[in-house]
């Protein structure tokens, strides 16, 4: 009996330590984001006093940032880019994964290997030829020029591949008995059954595209076509130490992602853990 109470107390103590460890990790992770948000609401007199809470919430920084930079226009651009990329990458990946898992055809293994090996090719090893190609096509300073090289993602194909592979062959054969066409099997049979995988991959592709820095930084320098990442960067170099407005702009650039996370936080975490990172 005495032993039992000791071990119980020990478990309590251990659980307390576990919580402490996780709370420390949380503080480390959240603090810069918290600092960004509260600073964006601090007035000019308060911004340098390093207090953890503003004495009053002011929207001045937001008003200034919105006046200086076309954040709304950039948000529209970024949404356009991120949604197009996510949808196109999903569409091409669904078709490719379907073809590779449903049929054995000459070259299918080579094609799979070609997709699988792309992750060894860093974007910087292809940037000069791709850049000159896009410039020749007339896509300099255009959001379309950012989307075009990213319409297919080998990462998306390889992520969907197992979901397609594990779809029961017997059901496909039954569908063929019902005279279903090849697209019919895909749309009416397979996709409804692996919907959750497709959606969670879609979320991941959207977030990745929203946060993409490298390619937009190369293609769009023009303000009218800039994405939030690029606009925020030029705001940073223009307003070297206007920390308040800068934090306000940073909050606005992250807001859609934060809202998405607030709503679908479990799915977002799950899709990152499931698919990993590029």
């Amino acid at each position: 009996m005495a032993e039992l109470t000791i071990s119980k107390r020990q478990i309590h103590w251990q659980n307390g330590l576990k919580h402490l460890l996780l709370i420390l990790l949380c503080v480390f992770a959240i603090f810069p984001i918290y600092w960004m948000v509260i600073s964006s609401f601090k007035g000019q007199t308060e911004i340098f006093n390093n207090s953890l809470l503003p004495s009053s919430f002011s929207a001045d920084n937001y008003a200034y940032a919105l006046e200086q930079v076309d954040i709304l226009g950039m948000t529209v651009n970024t949404f356009f880019m991120a949604i197009s990329q996510a949808v196109l990458q999903l569409a091409t990946a669904i078709m490719a994964a379907y073809a590779l898992t449903r049929w054995k055809f000459p070259g299918s293994r080579v094609i799979y290997t070609l997709f699988a090996l792309t992750w060894l090719v860093p974007i910087q090893a292809t940037m000069i030829p791709n850049y000159t190609t896009l410039v020749n096509m007339g896509f300099r300073d255009s959001i379309v020029g950012v989307i075009i090289p990213n319409m297919a993602s080998a990462f998306a194909i390889l992520s969907l591949y197992p979901a397609f592979k594990s779809f029961p062959k017997a059901l496909i054969e039954a569908g063929m008995m019902d005279k279903m066409s090849a697209p019919g099997v895909l749309f009416k049979l397979i996709l409804p059954n692996i919907k959750s995988s497709v959606v969670s991959l879609g979320i991941l592709l959207f977030i990745n595209s929203w946060n993409e820095y490298f390619w937009p930084a190369m293609i769009v320098s023009d303000q009218g076509q800039a994405t939030l990442q690029i606009g925020l960067r030029s705001f940073m170099s223009a307003e070297l130490t206007s920390w308040g407005p800068l934090m306000a702009a940073a909050v606005l650039a992250s807001l859609p992602i934060l809202i998405l996370y607030l709503l679908l936080q479990k799915q977002v975490i799950q899709s990152f853990v499931k698919w990993g990172i590029k």
């Binding site: 070609l114 860093p122 925020l232």
Partner: protein, 319 residues
């Protein structure tokens, strides 16, 4: 009525198959290719074509002006990069980046995941939601807030350090060559640590608890269980995160380098991929950039090959 229709179906389809025209058969043969074509063509055009072109550009001199023809220079570009210190500085920095990143992407996350394993509480989900957050934050927004936190005069870190008397003058985290690499690692590591912890936690939940029960019955101490059960069964996750860190750290740090330091001061924070960018789009020397790209592509390719070899030997799968 419907039963009759069903039983009649196979016969009808049999007739249909026999009467299939040659065109239809060809279409059937082509179907898989039609489905795979969009992705395949795009990947060939935007990944493999430019990769081959980069190999070609590596033996040419070109300023990326479309009106100027590239000139063949043989191995001169390779000779240049191997005889200039900026190449070796970038390689050495990348090695440091990878090494310093490991605590954030492998060591600490693994320790935290093991230490907090089987903490059954609802609070766990809240913790996860919070410490995962940096992973999805836009990199430029993160750069903005970190630049302020690290600002030499009015940043919070230096405010704390000076008021505690640790330093007399603010540390120039992002412009002092002794600090800049560490600072970039801290930012990139801050982004990774929560995600990595989750990856290791996910790896741990896959471990059958009966192993621990058996070990406890045998009187094995906790640390010994960690050593003999947890680590071997976690080895696939360890290898995965290790490989990701080695191959991707130069990529993860890229945006912060570009936004916060441009590789400086004096190249102290540059890395291999940033060097390619500098050669290409700052010096407009596509030959140097491509030659370095070829070297790094082959180098990382060999590393990846070694990793998959080791992985096959070391990683222990609980089948």
């Amino acid at each position: 009525m419907s039963e009759i229709a069903l039983s009649a179906l196979p016969d009808l389809s049999g007739v249909a198959v026999r009467q299939q025209s040659a065109a239809k058969r060809i279409l059937k043969r082509l179907t898989p290719f039609l489905f795979v074509a969009p992705a395949l063509i795009l990947v060939l055009f935007w990944v493999y074509r430019p990769l081959v072109q980069t190999f070609g550009l590596s033996i040419q001199m070109w300023n990326m002006n479309p009106n100027v023809e590239p000139v063949n220079v043989g191995l001169q570009n390779f000779q240049y990069i191997f005889t200039h210190p900026d190449f070796f500085q970038a390689v050495w920095n990348t090695f440091l980046y990878i090494l310093l990143m490991l605590p954030f992407s492998v060591i600490l996350p693994m320790a935290i995941a093991i230490a907090t394993n089987r903490l059954s509480s609802r609070a766990k989900n809240i913790y996860r939601a919070i410490f995962f957050l940096p992973m999805i934050m836009p990199p430029v927004a993160c750069s903005a807030v970190w630049r302020w936190l690290m600002h030499p005069i009015n940043g919070l870190f230096n405010h704390l350090l000076t008021s505690m008397g640790v330093v007399e003058e603010g540390v120039r985290f992002l412009s002092d060559e002794n600090w800049v690499l560490l600072s970039i690692v801290l930012i990139a590591g801050w982004k990774m640590i929560g995600f990595s912890t989750l990856m290791f936690s996910a790896g741990l939940t896959g471990i059958d608890p009966s192993y621990y029960e058996a070990a406890s019955v045998d009187g094995h101490k906790k640390w010994r269980q960690t050593l003999t059960i947890t680590l071997p069964l976690l080895s696939p996750t360890i290898m995965l995160m290790l490989m990701m860190s080695v191959l991707m750290t130069a990529q993860w740090t890229f945006a912060y380098i570009d936004v916060l330091t441009q590789g400086g001061p004096a190249g102290a924070s540059t890395n291999v991929y940033y060097l390619l960018w500098t050669y290409g789009f700052k010096n407009f020397n596509s030959g140097l950039s491509s030659a370095a790209a070829v070297v790094f592509f082959i180098g990382f390719g060999i590393l990846a090959l070694i990793f998959t070899r080791i992985n096959r030997k070391v990683a222990f799968y609980d089948n």
